[in-house]
Symmetry: C2
Subunit: 235 residues, 2 copies
């Protein structure tokens, strides 16, 4: 039974790393001593040790130890031995590239499906969807595929941003980009605003936090889901 917290961002403005998520994480990691951290997305290019130290500091607040996946003999061994997993944010292209290169996309998927507690933030959330094709990130590296874990039956757009009223910029808004995605894809997309997360219990997916989430489907007008409700689709 899947057991995940899938968050838009690790950090909300004016608050510490993971701080707003701690009550949810106490529950998610209730019976966990050590969380295995996947540092592949490397925000700002920092190395795996430095990134793991940030995660460790964040989860120390609820008494959890953290070990980087890169410290195991193989990444597969790390996932198989993990009590719980946390994939941090950064660049989704790099994260997906590294998951394939280390041969753990499938083993990670299986671990989530057998109920290993999983926390994702930003890029680490993106990969729980069917594909990484609704990321906001720059394609800084060419991954062998855009296919991701498929632990959720839809795609995510973390850090979802509403169009800026009165903007004179001619670049596409987030909503326009997702509509472009739907001109050639059928996968529904959940636009998750900063401060929101999904609580996943088996096949039930609840929206948590104080904000609504925006739901995009091909040939359906976008609509909002209220906090506390299950994510659902029209089509």
């Amino acid at each position: 039974m899947k057991n995940m917290v899938v968050a838009s961002t690790s950090t909300v403005h004016g608050s510490g790393y993971l701080e707003y998520l701690l009550p949810a994480l106490e529950k998610l990691f209730e019976n966990v001593d050590t969380v295995t951290f996947i540092p592949y997305a490397r925000p700002g290019g920092i190395d795996h040790d430095a990134y793991t130290a940030i995660a460790a500091k964040g989860l120390a607040a609820i008494g959890k130890k953290v070990r980087g996946l890169h410290t195991y003999q193989t990444a597969e061994e790390g996932v198989l031995r993990a009590e719980a997993l946390f994939t941090g944010g950064g660049n989704t292209f790099l994260l997906v590239h590294e998951l394939y290169r280390n041969g753990v996309m499938e083993v990670l998927r299986k671990a989530i499906y057998r109920g290993l507690p999983y926390l994702g933030t930003s890029a680490g959330s993106n990969i729980t969807g069917l594909s990484m094709q609704t990321t906001n990130d720059m394609p800084i590296i060419y991954p062998p595929s855009f296919k991701t874990l498929g632990a959720l039956p839809f795609n995510l757009n973390p850090h979802y941003l509403d169009p800026v009223k009165g903007s004179t910029h001619m670049g596409e808004t987030r909503e326009t980009r997702i509509k472009e995605f739907h001109t050639i894809n059928h996968i529904p997309v959940v636009g998750l605003r900063e401060g929101s997360w999904l609580e996943v219990k088996g096949d039930d997916v609840y929206l948590r936090g104080d904000l609504t989430a925006r739901i995009f489907e091909k040939d359906v007008a976008p609509f909002e889901t209220e906090p506390g409700k299950k994510i659902y689709f029209e089509s």
Copy 2:
């Protein structure tokens, strides 16, 4: 001898399609009767005929006829028979996917190197660089490669946006994204603001329009190039 206009955007706020570029295009297309239009990037998913009609309307203002590349027996034939080329904006992943699928990436590169007048806007500009890896677009389709025309010895970031002062959004700024690119790539990047274009004459690349452009290199502090000056790099 390369002869290109490489523009950040087709349209600046408050002005018509291509309008601000028309004086530059009169010069670029001076001896041209018909411009061949590459509609593959399909903004908003519109079909090739509809997109070509928009391009035709824009270039009618300087008396040019426009024919869509999709109306030739093969795309290769279309490029080889063209007097001049214009690649419109939209989604860069889709554009690159279609250029490879239609087998014209290399033939297009050769046409530009032998001096065929070329206009690119947005995604159509992105592809003139070494790779499409500094696009802002969503990866709505998986192209066989991120490598592009290499008609310029650097990459572009069209619609370049300065960081918003005082923003509380935790998603990456454009500058942060380009810095991420440079954690694993060495290619210089030119951030081209809306209203700017590059005039390319052989190996000389001049910045045109009223705005400065922001230059990013690995391990070099970003700096600005003045309008009218040649694009240059520190390293």
